[in-house]
Amino acid sequence: MDVGIVSYGAYVPRYRIKPEEIGRIWGVDGKGMGKGLLIFQKSVPSPDEDVVTIATEAARNMMARVPDVDPKEIGAVYVGSESHPYAVKPTSTIVAEAIDATPAMTAADMEFACKAGTAGIQVCMGLVGSGMVKYGVAIGADTSQGAPGDALEYSASAGGASYLIGSEKVIAKINKTLSFTTDTPDFWRREGQPYPLHGGRFTGEPAYFRHITSAAKMMFDAMGTKPEDYTYAVFHQPNGKFPTRVATQLGFTPEQIECGLLTPNIGNTYSGAVPLGLAHILDKAKAGDRIFVVSYGSGAGSDAFDITVTDEITEYKRDNAPVLDKVMENVVYLDYGTYAKFKGKIVMSG
């Protein structure tokens, strides 16, 4: 049975803030900071947007592209995020209701820092592959948090993408998935804390780079492939610099990663990052294109995927929903004060 992506949808809020505007408030060289991180602007959710609305927008875009799929045939909905609006009460049930998949189905929220979305795809692959469900929905979405003045404030943004996993009319076959997981505490947020803490430079070599390169090499070994066998590659993108460097380390060219690298223009969408990068690739992909995917979640782990776009992509109704380039048009730039209000950083008394 060929399990893979039957449909996908994506959403990014329209508001943006630039690093120089953030730096202006904190008295640092924001433009230089942005250049160092390779982030030129980041998305900001409006006050009435959260992971539920972002996940719902993405899921509805996904369903619009497969009008022949009966939402009642969706047997599972998983939403991966580290900014679920509720600590107790699922996001996934709200999304499932919004796409009319309820009630004969299962749902759960997932959390694995920035890779909860790809973990959801793996779970859905298992359920579809075993015959337990016909379709599964896996969503990665975040309205990520960066403490005021912290380095994360220049990158933490909002967005998400949704994937319908099945075995019929698969537009992109997932040839293989595997993971590399360790207990590596590089980034965390404890219950009740508003902003995450991180281990500074520890988040680099022993965390991001070790896990992504290990998972990637495991995939090359498992599939007997080399970087040049792939049309596109997408890596987790907490900033623009890390994925660019890891791609070079692994032997991929700038041309292979360009399409899937959205962080320079929208920031780090955490659980949404790899799902959005993959969505941007699928917006352009042609039958036969092969895609190499490695996500990364702090804590830590990487999920790798080897994907081949199928002939079904030619009949696929991609234009039934806006492609990401369209979604990312008509942006509105915010000053820091409005951004602080939108993000709820101003604590009201009483």
Partner: protein, 389 residues
Amino acid sequence: MRDVAIVGIGATQFGELWNNSFRSLGIEAGSRAIEDANLSGDEIDALYIGNMSAGRFISQQHIDALIADYSGMATNHIPATRVEAGGASGGVAFREAVIAVASGLHHTVMVGGAEKMTDLDDASINSVMDATADAEWEAGMGLTLTSLYAIIARRMMFEGTVTREGIASVAVNSHFHGALNPGAQFRKAIPIDTVLKSGPVAEPLGVFDCAPITDGAAAVILCPLEDAKKYTDKYVKVSATSQASDTLALFQRPDITTFEATRAAAKRAYEMAGITARDINVAEIHDDYTVSGIMALQDLGFYKKGEAGNAFLNGETHFDAGKVAINTSGGLKARGYPVGASGVAQIVEITEQLRGTADKRQVKNAKYGLAQSVGGTGSAVTVSILEAI
């Protein structure tokens, strides 16, 4: 007092060593030194360890017992002593060990230096470093160690004894040598523009004017000079080791562009060794900040006031320039600065140079080598002189 020799040296790689604990670093450096000296751990009868702040970096006090235990010497019940003197911790530990052997109280002594810094976040590390200044009158008022050195740099530039380029060239020299040292944290030569254009920390000092945060350890083994040949043919003589103090706070000094403690320690060391600054072929100096390197060359008597900047700029400090070679290991700036280890690591480098085993950065025919280790803003300084045999 009897003459003392260095019969064994060992050091770990310096860097962000995420997979190494404090104790594993100490064990690695110590066992390398023991192996280098061709002796067994049972022959060591005293242990000294330079460590600045394991209490705050890794929440471990009682470093003396820890090191004795994990080096397998605790069951021999030898005395183990932890020494702290800010950035000069390793230098002072070395001097205490030399005194112990010279006095006749101990025969074969290991002196180690170790620091594990990267378990803490950057802001906390800076706070630990700032505690080497005066906590009440300096750090408590918001002055960081970097800003104190920035004040020194500003004053020197104002007085016209050095240019910004002269100061920056200290880092260029350290990186030039770091590129030749496989054990260095940064093994890459840099042009002066990299320093001048680096992000400001405390102006005029930028990121590249400051030594990095580093994990690492170093160790040396001492014994009486007369017994050195029993262990090895490649030993060097400790010709002098001296130490001087000064006010804890910088503002209490009449002149902040010189470290009187360095001058005093150097004077005593040259007298003890029976030589002058002109006899030194190679020196490891405490370049925790670039401007410290300028002061060191002048206070140690290698150059007159106002001349050190040009010496660095012109490359006179390179290992192959034929003058006194400065920081051939890469110094604190490029080899790395695991604080308590640095004073001992300097002794390791000078020993390599005098033994002729410094490989690509070997100074030709080096006879005398000097190591200068500094705590805070020159509040504690050690100067040691080693001699090739």
